[in-house]
Structures are given as structure tokens and as C-alpha cells.
Subunit: 205 residues, 2 copies
Amino acid sequence: MKQKDQSTEETILQAARKAFTKKGLSGARMQDIADESGINKALVHYYFESKEKLFALVFEQEFGKLFSNLAAVVSSDLPLFEKIEQIVAMDFEKLSQFPDLPLFVINEVSRNPAMVVKRFRQLRIKDMLGTFQNQIDHEIKNGTIKSISATQLLINIQSLSIFPFVSKPMVKNLFKMSEKNYKLMMQLRKKEVAMFIINALKIKN
Amino acid sequence: MKQKDQSTEETILQAARKAFTKKGLSGARMQDIADESGINKALVHYYFESKEKLFALVFEQEFGKLFSNLAAVVSSDLPLFEKIEQIVAMDFEKLSQFPDLPLFVINEVSRNPAMVVKRFRQLRIKDMLGTFQNQIDHEIKNGTIKSISATQLLINIQSLSIFPFVSKPMVKNLFKMSEKNYKLMMQLRKKEVAMFIINALKIKN
DNA sequence: ACACATTTTAACCATTTGGTTAAAAATATT
DNA sequence: AATATTTTTAACCAAATGGTTAAAATGTGT
């Protein structure tokens, strides 16, 4: 039960966010959301009509969180290596704050890909990818880094940043880590991942 | 509807696998499994008692698939770089065959971590991790590679291999790839990922 | 052909679940 | 204070869902 200093609407949305991110669309119950909000189930419908509409709203907000700022940083005019550090730092900060975000978004996009086509259009990916590829090509010509495509590099960065959050329960179990040890390991990662990527790009002689 | 050359039991299990991996425990319907098997719903219960038991069986099998061979390769006596190539190749082969596997397993472990504690014990992680760390430390002392922990390296390898499969619908949408282009990109990745990791480990000059 | 066991089905059942309704309680308007 | 408006609730409802039962169909050994 949440306190009543915030509006009922916001309280419900918060409870819905919690339920949906934890259990998914089909696993979450309207009754749970009502209980968590400390109100009647009918009131949830009074404010948000249907489960689907409430879910769509939650999803839109979470999806936004996941991709906010990415485009801006990727197409900024920072030097490549600094840019990589920036992206990784951004990812770790965001994911530390919202660890359930990526799995939630991935799941729902997997189950209903059509849902996000519009959202992605707004992100102006083509432009972002273009300028990023230019920067990379420039470095390659300079002999600073090995040949790689912007797409592959972005996927590598996001894989190394996001996957350990997504697979947290697996990692914890597999390596028999306590919560404390997991956090410690992730703390180390934050520093090492950017270095790992940059080193992978650098040319050896 | 599946043909009847295989036993009813196996037909049901196959349908269950399909339903559960696609929609998860809460999203899958016993009726769908029955329909897909071309039989009556009661027959599903006749063979597998309850939804939970059927799910547990499917999960156990899929979980096994995901981790089979990993321990063996990691603690084999291959040279480090060859070992990395081997792990990546293994991952790509398995995931190409069962692309829905990792998201399914990750989801259910996230929702019920207790479920896998036993399974993980059987994998003899401690031994595996120990010998792998020894090999890495040896290379570090030799000055062949930069300092890194076995844990972080394994997470890096698995992140780079698994995450693009898990996030396929996101990647496809984000980069506006057709199915063909996605497969082409993954084909390239198969070659590049191991090189990327090895290069990241190597010391410059 | 007959008895016995196994497999499969149709018809139910109880519970859960998303959603509705009509009235009560609280709040705002005059 | 009286009236209208908004917010909240208790009680329902219909559909969906996991599960059961009793009987029918099929198979097997004698």
C-alpha cells in the first residue's frame, strides 16, 4: 500500500509498472495491482480502462527509458574512445537504477514486435548510425583501430553492458555469488568493460 | 497437429516445448498444447498430470541444452585463444539451432531462481572455474594477455554470443534489418566475436 | 469371442480473472 | 445548505482456464 500524497493515478501506474516488469503482461494480475495500490480493482479500470491499455502505457514509458540519450551520445562529436566510455557509463547507470528494464522490454518486443515499430522510427537510427559509421571509418583509415561496422560495435557494447543485468539470476547461481559479491563484480565490470572494448579495437604491433 | 508415428507422449512434449518457450509458463495454455498435439486436453493431464509438472520437464530439458558441453570445453586443455574460439563456435551453433532457448531459460530462472539451484550444482562450476582461472593466470604471468578474472571473461564471452540472439527482435527493428540481413549480420558475428575477444585480451606493442 | 488393461474423449467442475454496475462516499459548485 | 460532480467501493458477471470423471474406443492376451 502506497501513501496518498501522490495522485491515485500515479500510485496505480507505479504498482502496474512493478507488476508488469516482474511478471510480464500475462503473469501480472489486475487484482495484485489494485492491492499494491491499496485500492479497489474497479478503480484501476476507472482510471485506465483495460489491462491492455494500462500495460501499453507502462511499456511505452519503460521503452523510452531504455533508449533515452543513446542516440544523442552515439551521434555526439566526442572522440571514439571517450564515446564508448560514455555509452558504457550511461548504460550501467541506467541499468543499476532499473535492473528489470531490459528483460521486460525484450520480452514484450519478442512477443509483439509490431508494438514498437513506431517508437523505433522516432529514434532516427539511420542518422545516428551514419555519423557513427563515419567516425569509425575515419579512425580505421587513420590506422587507430581495426576494421569494424558501427552495427557490430554497437551490438558488442550493448551486449557487454546489458546482458549481465538480464542474466543476473543465472550469473548469481552459476558462480555462486551472494548479492554482495554480484554487486562487487558489477562494480568491477563498470570499469573493465569500456577498457575491454577499446582494447579490442586497438591495433597490435 | 502432429502426425502419429511418434508416441503421443513425445508429441505432447514437443507441443509443450513450443508453447512454453514462446509464451512462458503463465502465457501458455493447456488447450493450445492439446490442440497443437491434435488430442484432447484431458489426455495431456493423463500423461503429465499438471501444467507445472509438464513445464518443469520442458524446462529441465531446455536448461540442459543450454549448458551442455560448456563445462567440458572450458576446463579442457586447449590453448586459451583456441578455447575462446571453441566456446564462441559452440554457442553460435547451439543458438542457431535453438534461438528461443536463452530467453526462455533466463525468464524462468528470473521468475523462480530456486528452481535451478540443484541443476547448477551438477555442473561442477567450482572445478571448471578453478582450472580456467589457472590457465588465464598463467598467460597473464607470461605476458601474453592483460589481467582479467575467469568470471569476467566468461561473462564477456557469453554476453557477446548470447545477447544478440536474445535481443533479435530489438536488433532487427532498431537497425531495420530484414530476416535475411539479420542472418547475414549474425554470420559475420560468428567470425568476428572470437577475434574481438582475443584482441581485447592481447597486450599492445 | 471374451476379459482385461490401456488410451482417448466428451462433458463437467471449481477457481481465477478481466471487466461491469449501481450505489455510497467524498469533493466541488451554487 | 443543497445540488451536482468526481472518486471509490461492494457485489456481480461472463469468459477463460486448469483440472476431473465416467464412459467410450482401442488394444492385448487367452
